[in-house]
Point group: C2
Chain length 139, copies 2
DNA sequence: ACCGTATTGACTATCATTATCAATAAGGTA
DNA sequence: TACCTTATTGATAATGATAGTCAATACGGT
């Protein structure tokens, strides 16, 4: 509630590099589509890592904050993560096999922005995800 | 694991009417915007009802299944419910005060459908929600 | 009024995620 | 290189939302 250290710019957390963070980053980038924190943890353990579950969660949260990862909630309420470039995009997800297709949706992007503006909302963000059954899983 | 009663058509649950179900339905329709199951339960209790939490969850789940209510997940992962007419629509939600505006989005509706089709997905559904800060909460 | 059973409610179980805290190690310094 | 400060880790407990259990209750047809 008071002015303390005049932290220069957005520099407040003197991060350290650890093999754990690299491991999570790497495992996430290897994964295809979205993975849950628990899945990532299992995978890492199966590969011989001794990383802790809490650390996986922590690292994932950091990656989201830094914009290096993307997350969405599965319909069962589980949080799913995905390594992510810088571009903002959405996903088309197969309900059966989990296959994910990235969608670029400039139109919808601006539509969302406009709708919000029309109603006097600012500082907007949105959630757009499409679920369906992919052709391979249809049979 | 075996064939038992050959339940005729989709008629398997001979619902009964109880004051509890009415209470939930009513409380839900009174609520403005989205409410969580726990909130509804509190409200009902505060109004003197002795309804159980489990019953609130059960009724809400039934309302969703029967299409009489709508649900979405808050960004904290909590499920929020809302009494809902038949029309499919989306929401613009104020991050600060929770005010909700219904959006009709035919364009986006069909866009989602098309994108899915283009990628060979069928039986699609989607999640589209816009979050922002409403004008009243801006100051 | 009576009876069969769907429904209730208190409680427990589950499951994902977060908080706790002592032990460890990253990385700057003498 | 040895040392020291403290960010980070990991095992585990805590939390919080939701689902399951089961005996007691009450709906609704007779």
């Amino acid at each position: 509630m008071s002015e303390q250290a005049p932290k220069s710019a957005a520099e407040a957390t003197p991060k350290r590099n650890t093999w754990q963070k690299d491991a999570v980053r790497h495992a996430l980038s290897e994964a295809t589509g979205f993975v849950s924190a628990q899945q990532l943890h299992s995978v890492l353990r199966n590969h011989g890592s001794t990383i802790g579950l809490a650390t996986v969660y922590r690292t994932l949260t950091d990656l989201i904050k830094s914009g290096d990862a993307d997350s969405l909630q599965s319909q069962e309420g589980e949080l799913l993560y995905r390594a992510c470039g810088t571009a903002h995009h959405h996903h088309l997800i197969c309900r059966v096999c989990g296959r994910t297709v990235e969608i670029e949706a400039d139109k919808v992007e601006s539509w969302a922005e406009n709708v919000a503006k029309e109603h006097g909302f600012s500082n907007t963000s949105h959630t757009i995800d499409i679920f369906g059954t992919c052709s391979a899983c249809l049979s």
